[in-house]
Symmetry: C2
Subunit: 658 residues, 2 copies
């Protein structure tokens, strides 16, 4: 009982999102933390803290842009292929980098190299291809106009021109321009130093051994790398347990050595309260609790004018609040514009999204590219405690206080998590098969980006119907016809089906179990199963097999379903095999391939057809065409054939229904 906190901090005045932002940003400095001078060779991706104004003309002198002869243009006007004219050779070859010694007088010419200085008196260059030299005479076969083949001084950049403005993030485009001016030292904004502290008794440092009841410190990694991506220099200050003295020491230390302090990690109210009290004691709390979801418990304070922030413990809440409250501060202190450029994409909502109302909500979404280059946004389903909710999402939608829902097909702005977020070339929505991996690897090697949403066959076909998936892998058994897949798309003129391969589905279990039929497995009350997610073809198959047994042994399906573990759903075949191998479950239904991979026993139940449903409207997409080519390729077929439990039909990759 000693660990119970004495008081629980209530949110006395939960603020609106806008109010919180305004109040906090007015109370802290959003200026950059200063500048430093660095070498141009170290400047890539740094933020320029000065204007680069051309000091010299570029080129600094009139240069020849061709190998040839420097002449007076008017001396050549009469020349043509039939009637070349003759000029006197100056007996000077002007090499690039040297200074011409002789003037080019009327009816004279000097030889000149590309990049060399145009000599006094000359106003054009005849290309070497249109001239011949013979002793001291030069034959010219083509006339040139004044200025021909000459780059004038300052024609690229003129001394005095503004070349790059302060605040520019430097890419190779800009460093090249700076180098041209001979500038090797430039002033950039210093990277703000950010102290990152993890809190909580349940947190274990990444790389150490995980003990019971603990989880790894993910938030520190998220926060540090977010800071880096926004121009700052984070330092991980380690984990502190819910020890007020220790937390106080850590924050005091950080406030002396950093430009900003970010705490996070602890999920319980207890640790939050301690951090809150410490900041209140050492400094000031500006905002405690904001009417947003997720992320309500965020604390925005300062210690000695150093912004000091407590992010909520759950990773998705921490990510969202970092993006909304902290990132603009980090960016401003780094010399970047407070808000990122081009972080928004317009998308249509794929399914109605409900909101609690009365709160500013951030809904995580995945984006799928449509045939007309527009985007569909799918709500990410996992909760704010999940890392994958955030990490595998493309961005988020904001729902403002008075909206109760966003309807299907409504247009929304999706805020991308970072400016480099890529929308995939190819979106798979449907059933997962590990055997597909080699095909995807080939595609990735060709430069295609791929997104896979494991939602099972049924939901995948729905997505195909709405033209939201590019490819929906499916293995659905029609109970009436006892046929796979075709029955489910028969009524839809917009779908096609391409042949995949045949997989052996069956019971996967450890070698110590000696049952031989599904009935024995489900009847043994000592065994725990692991199920597949609803809507997956494997789940449909399992439920069908249960129903068959139910009819045979005359026990209602609903009774039969009360197998231990029936409610626990894994999303992939691998996850089923892993759970069985690690004794978290005793059996499950999966394909033979994964049974082999995990050294498990296997009893076959059904040969099933794993095919690819593709919306007709999408067939012309290069990435889909490439996919169909790849699955027909020898390279992929021979990979498939290496696996036990896989049969490759002759017509793999061929259209089998439209």
């Amino acid at each position: 009982m000693k660990e119970q906190p004495k008081t629980r901090k209530e949110f006395h005045d939960v603020m609106s999102f806008d109010e919180a932002i305004t109040k906090y940003y007015n109370s802290i400095s959003l200026e950059s933390v200063g500048t430093e001078t660095i070498d141009i060779s170290e400047s890539l991706n740094r933020i320029l803290a000065e204007k680069i104004i051309a000091k010299i003309d570029v080129p600094p002198f009139a240069r020849s842009s061709k190998d040839g002869y420097a002449v007076n243009a008017k001396d050549t006007f009469e020349a043509d292929e039939e009637h070349p004219i003759f000029l006197n050779f100056n007996k000077e070859f002007i090499a690039a980098g040297s200074v011409p010694k002789k003037e080019v007088k009327e009816n004279f010419a000097s030889e000149i190299a590309t990049g060399a200085m145009i000599p006094r008196g000359s106003n054009a260059v005849v290309m070497i291809e249109y001239a011949d030299i013979k002793e001291d005479k030069i034959k010219i076969y083509r006339p040139v106009t004044p200025g021909e083949n000459i780059m004038h001084a300052g024609s690229d950049m003129m001394a005095g021109e503004l070349l790059i403005d302060k605040g520019q993030k430097l890419s190779s485009r800009e460093t090249a321009v700076i180098a041209t001016q001979g500038i090797n030292k430039i002033k950039v904004f210093k990277k703000p130093k950010i102290g990152v502290i993890s809190t909580g008794n349940e947190i274990i440092e990444v790389g150490k051994k995980l003990t019971e009841g603990k989880i790894y410190d993910t938030n520190a990694r998220i926060v540090c790398d977010f800071c880096k991506e926004n121009g700052a220099n984070p330092t991980y200050l380690g984990i502190v347990k819910d020890n007020e003295k220790e937390i106080k020491e850590k924050i005091k230390f950080a406030s002396k050595n950093f430009d900003m302090i970010i705490l996070s990690g602890g999920t319980s109210a207890g640790i939050g309260d301690i951090c809150y009290r410490v900041i209140e004691e050492l400094g000031q709390i500006i905002v405690h609790g904001v009417a947003i979801k997720p992320g309500k418990p965020i604390v925005l304070g300062k210690v000695k004018e150093i912004p000091t922030i407590i992010l909520p413990g759950f990773p998705t809440s921490a990510s969202i609040t970092f993006n909304m409250f902290v990132k603009p501060i980090v960016r401003a202190k780094s010399g970047l514009p407070k808000y990122e450029e081009y972080k928004k994409i317009i998308a249509k909502v794929a399914e109605r999204i409900n909101s609690e109302g009365g709160k500013h909500e951030f809904i995580l979404v995945n984006l799928a590219k449509q045939k007309d280059n527009t985007f569909s946004a799918y709500q990410t389903t996992k909760n704010s405690g999940a890392i994958t909710t955030f990490s595998f999402s493309d961005g988020f939608i904001e729902i403002k206080d008075n909206t109760n829902a966003i309807l299907k097909d409504e247009t929304v702005e999706v805020n991308l998590f970072n400016e480099n977020t890529k929308i995939s070339d190819l979106t798979f929505i449907g059933s997962h098969c590990v055997m597909l991996e080699p095909a995807l690897a080939i595609l990735r090697k060709k430069g295609f980006t791929i997104k896979i949403l494991h939602v099972g066959s049924s939901v995948g076909l729905d997505a195909a119907r709405r033209e939201e998936s590019d490819i929906s892998p499916t293995h659905l058994l029609d109970e009436k016809s006892n046929e796979y897949n075709i029955a489910f798309i028969k009524n839809d003129n917009n779908l096609t089906l391409y042949k995949g391969y045949i997989r052996k589905q069956g019971i996967v279990f450890r070698k110590d179990i000696k049952h031989t039929t599904l009935k024995e497995f489900i009847s043994n009350k000592n065994l725990r199963m692991i199920n597949r997610n609803k809507g997956s073809g494997t789940r449909v198959l399992f439920d069908k097999l249960l129903k068959d047994i139910s009819l045979k042994i005359n026990i209602p399906f609903n009774e039969l379903k009360k197998i231990k573990g029936y409610e626990l759903e894994a999303n992939t075949h691998s996850a089923v095999a892993a759970a069985v191998a690690q004794k978290k479950a005793d059996f499950g239904i999966a394909i033979e391939t994964v049974a082999e991979q995990y050294g498990l026993s296997f009893i076959p139940l059904k040969d099933e057809n794993y095919d690819f449903c593709i919306p007709k409207s999408k067939l012309s997409k290069p990435a889909i065409q490439e996919f169909l080519k790849v699955i027909k390729s020898k390279e992929f077929v021979s990979e498939l054939q290496k696996n036990k439990g896989i049969e490759v039909p002759k017509n793999i990759g061929e259209k089998i229904y439209e």
Copy 2:
């Protein structure tokens, strides 16, 4: 004469682009250069060289997602606000990170913190808000369903799941997922080491003093930073002059210490020949000369299986050939897909682009965003010797061998130079004014990206008519009405004009010149002028004033134009003032503001109206609305008023014509 090369290398078999790529890539290794194990904290932006498969479930155990009471759900089914039910308190508070000691038996409950392990026997958590504790009894006001407020083990990630695939570039999204698994050491691809050698007698190292006839070594910077942006680790090996022995030593050294060698810099045939001979002697030339424009002289070879490439000397040619031939190799050796993802944007060509035909051409373009979020592509006009041609372009269009031209409005694919190329929020096409800078700075601070094409007032108005510019600043004097700007948009229903400010234009000259009228300036044969670019308002004004004088003194305009320097065009007011200050010219026409800035004398000629033409269809763009707000703002107006020669009208920022 001694510097003249003995033989000039001819291109005996200039290859087609596709042939060159195929032949070269087949002759070298495109495998990555190996892997290394690094700490996760150093892994941002590195390329993963292994699959990350979940080793543990996340969360590793069932966790509470709320502060509250761990119960048996069925014990709470009867509870409501009016009729709370009572459970026995287990006298255990389960803190996050601790292991529960007591089982939750029927009608019992334990207190539990967010993130803490669910105790044996419990299958739901009642939130603290819906319970009261009194001594050893807990009052429950709301029922919970089984699983409520519990995050199941593995519900985020399941052991065995593929989390991140090999080849992924790591952003904070991925490092977070890896950290969750407790993995702190990961295998990434080694960065290939690339030796960068500059060649040529005319090249001076950046940072050193520029002497006559020389230029700064820009290509080395471009190549090094391109390599970095594509995952490699470049080393600048310095400049070698056209000394065969020295070049041989350098290449020998590089072939022992690097994974790839890139030479560039020298523009003349001479230095190119020497490098070619050395590679031929030490290794093998695979391709010499490709039918592309620009970039024909590229040399692709190898020394001891180390790809060894000579890029053309001109910066734009070097950039294009790097992108087309070298980048895929650098990427492949870095473990990235050979070709970059999403490097293409579809755009309409703004003006007809002519091609030579028979060559694979790369046309550099700038992009402007249109009202419907499509893009227009403008050909960049400068030549391949110019750095700005490349640096200030957004990307390039390819014209294949058999195309002679791309017509206006034809749709093309624009290849972006790098994946982060930003298309601006706001495109100014028209006349340049330094006084606008403070307004642009305010906009940039608000996060808007701005592109400015200095093309002068007339071309700017054409762009506005085609709805290609967002804002076309203009100061065009109508000779008939003697009125500024309005006359030029009068016949166009799609344009509006917004009031800007009034600038004093006049003669800018050094204080040592004592003339007082324009006639005196242009009549003094000892003086050299600097002109402005054709199409600029200032040029129009100057030509009009010349015509006035021409009539007055009865000398034909064409005679009068023969002022020294009339042909030399600067693109901006600042460039005119800089040229005069640096004595490259003696006088020019510019606004009084820059005369002040450069400490020059000024004789006023005309008060001119500098206004903003905006296509009606674009008015609703947020960036334009913000611009109009900013130019009306006190902040900007007071900045304007600090300058001599600027007058701010009351109606600044107001619509004056539509």
